[in-house]
Symmetry: C2
Subunit: 447 residues, 2 copies
């Protein structure tokens, strides 16, 4: 075993995958997690219950050899099932290739699987109910609370995978002048609230199982992801203020009238709407960017701790898991020269984290405003045909979602150029008379 | 007297002017300041000792009727005295109008004058050595330390004028989800260090008194502002790393060789360079933006607390004082409907604060890289002639600095368009054969 001891703060998806990978490399790993051991029962109120796992996340899981275990927990989603107001639902595939789909997976289920894997290693210590309260970045020392006691631990390095509210990042903020720590947090004027569709009586799914459902409504929408037990997790994305605002829809009467007007096709599936709506909290939707991610060659932040993004590209978890894969590659190259590893990692990763953050914001507007409009549908139609006929063509969505070897930044740049060309060509009246090969030739020749 | 009690956190330039103006309006004002009473002696280590006071600051001071008192403390600076490496110094006026100049003023001197004014009011309580440690924004309640005691106070409202490290803003950060608090801090890779030129033997100024001096050197520079006692305050703006980096220039030998190479014309004036350089700290240069500036109609931040900027437009203090003038205008209109006042104020001011922050960053590059280059000098030459011949023409610099009735955002937009046109016209070989009226006509017709 190697002598370096690595303290990981946060045993979420990123932290527990990182623990596995570092244990496989022979490091002594101590993982501090403020929540109770999830093997004793799950407590995850207010966080989104299911997530979209796609190629980048799966590739990262496979660096630790655990893709297969995880896929058993997944439901494939082959496209967006759009439920337009007053119209019939239709499926818009994610890709023209049958093998390209995303997966609905339970966050607590996936986390549990990763924790179980991590615990198989002798050189991993898992410390639950241990809330890290401060970090001395220059010494790689942490203070944590266990019950009523305040204890300390010291590692060779500390890695914070402790999410958007990261304590490790807060320690970096406290070293602002030494680190020249750049930081931004930006919130959408929309929040989210979770609801659910129960399983059908006798089991099974009440609406199409293998799809991500969207009820778009201009400036607000509801989405649904399937769960293994036949239920769906719904997420309302609504503004805080205005007619559709969470702060406005504050009585059963208003809520009923609103859903009857804007979500009539969904309403029959959610008889328990009123209880859930008034019980569940409203979450905020924020983007966090910062730089540097490392301090003194002793501390590093990864995942949401360094790049929290909005959920509209289904890439938050995938980006966090991909951090582990890239970190592992850098580690392979530079061994345990931690300052070098941290610096190369952050510089390899920062622009890609920024790119997926910006793409996720773009997609918020696309999903909300455009999935059911004409120009968008024309474009998607052509993109599907292109992907079916030309297997080496990838739409922007496909580049981001199904091309895990292409860094996010490059996917964004190429994807945006493709979109410009497509929207220009689809704006012509005879857009569907243009030979598909002409589309393909213009798109594939983008440098 | 009005019944509303206003707690102001921070008795700096913005806070003390605000206290005066609110006292004049009949409010009960309590000002908390962590530093000792500056009337008992000045303690201001590490902060810049003199500042450029220009039309916006003066106009704000005049809302409280104290412009005249302040001008007695000022030294006019009519232009930039450029000291090119290996060339002769030359003066580049700030404006073609003789009445347009900026003023070098001592920060502690100005602060002292404002504190003395504030203390003339019976309805102002000044509480020094009282360090505010937390703020309850929903109740307008503060906790502060006075010696070893922790005390409380509660007002109708709390206004934070407590600078870039604002405690009131930190309380807003703590309410991130309720306020959807957007925040960013961004640091330049350059820092600053203060040095000085002593008065001439027998009194007087060793170099031109009525100018802001610049020794530009590509990616680094030194500037100097005159003081009333015959001295100059120098500020080195250098990167942290690299050949010219503060972290590299860490021995007397390296420093000597560096100054001999890059600042030969300055060196004879600073025989005490080595003591000052190694004694004085290196400061950071950051931009802070945030939104909202108000919370619950009970708390508000102003000045550097809500918009800290880099010093390269000489507008930081002026913008903070202008905040007070605009706040006073809003107060005049809406009385003590605080939620309304705060909301109207922040929405009137935010875009202007962003604009001057961005202009200040632009000017960093201009001062450092361009003040001695050909295109820039051509442009300045034409601008001077235009301002001399056409009194209603204002260059970008003049719009920002000498047109206090024009909001920063408009000054920025108009100024940038003017610069584009000027750089295009000055790029022509015959730029000085173009009739001045042609320049004027193109510039003045920008919408």
């Amino acid at each position: 075993m190697k002598k370096d001891k690595i303290i990981i703060v946060g045993a979420g998806l990123c932290g527990s995958l990182l623990a596995i990978r570092l244990a496989q490399r022979g490091f002594h790993v101590a993982v501090y997690e403020r929540r109770p051991d999830m093997r004793k029962g799950v407590e995850d109120a207010g966080r989104s219950i299911n997530l979209a796992l796609s190629a980048r996340g799966l590739m990262a899981l496979e660096t630790a050899g655990i893709k297969k275990i995880v896929l058993e927990e997944c439901i494939p989603m082959r496209g967006r099932m759009i439920h337009p107001l007053g119209g019939n639902p239709f499926l818009s595939n994610y890709s023209g290739r049958a093998e390209d789909y995303i997966n609905s997976v339970s966050r607590p289920g996936l986390n549990l699987a990763l924790i179980k894997e991590a615990d198989k290693f002798e050189n991993v210590e898992l410390k639950f109910e241990s809330k890290v309260i401060s970090v001395d970045l220059e010494k790689a020392k942490i203070k944590y609370q266990l019950g009523s006691k305040t204890l300390e631990d010291q590692g060779t390095i500390v890695i914070g995978t402790d999410g958007a509210g990261s304590v490790v990042r807060r320690a970096m903020m406290g070293q602002t002048t030494k680190l020249l720590f750049n930081y931004s947090q930006h919130f959408l004027r929309h929040g989210y609230k979770e609801l659910s569709i129960h399983p059908a009586v006798g089991g099974g799914w009440k609406i199409e199982k293998e799809a991500l459902h969207i009820w778009p409504n201009g400036s607000f929408m509801i989405i649904a992801l399937p769960n293994l037990d036949g239920s769906f997790t719904l997420t309302m994305f609504h503004p805080f203020e205005g007619e559709a605002g969470f702060n406005t829809l504050n009585t059963k009467e208003k809520l009923k009238a609103f859903f009857e007007k804007f979500y009539p096709s969904l309403l029959p599936h959610i008889p328990h709407l009123y209880e859930e709506y008034f019980e569940n909290p409203v979450g905020t939707l924020g983007t966090i960017k910062c730089y540097p991610w490392q301090a003194f060659g002793k501390g590093l932040i990864m995942g949401d701790a360094s790049h929290a993004i909005v959920p509209f590209y289904g890439q938050g978890m995938n980006a966090s898991l991909e951090d582990v894969r890239i970190f592992d590659e850098v580690l392979e190259q530079y061994g345990d020269d931690w300052e070098k590893v941290f610096t190369v990692f952050q510089d390899a990763r920062k622009a890609n984290a920024d790119a997926i953050a910006d793409l996720a914001i773009d997609n918020f507007y696309e999903m909300r405003d455009h999935v059911d409009d004409v120009a968008f549908m024309r474009k998607r139609k052509i993109e599907m045909q292109l992907e079916q006929q030309f297997p080496d063509y990838y739409s922007k969505y496909s580049l981001v979602t199904f091309q895990p070897n292409l860094p996010y930044e490059q996917a964004m740049k190429r994807g945006r150029k493709q979109d410009e060309i497509l929207l220009e060509m689809c704006g012509q009246n005879d857009f569907d008379k243009i030979p598909l090969a002409d589309y393909y030739n213009r798109l594939i020749n983008i440098i």
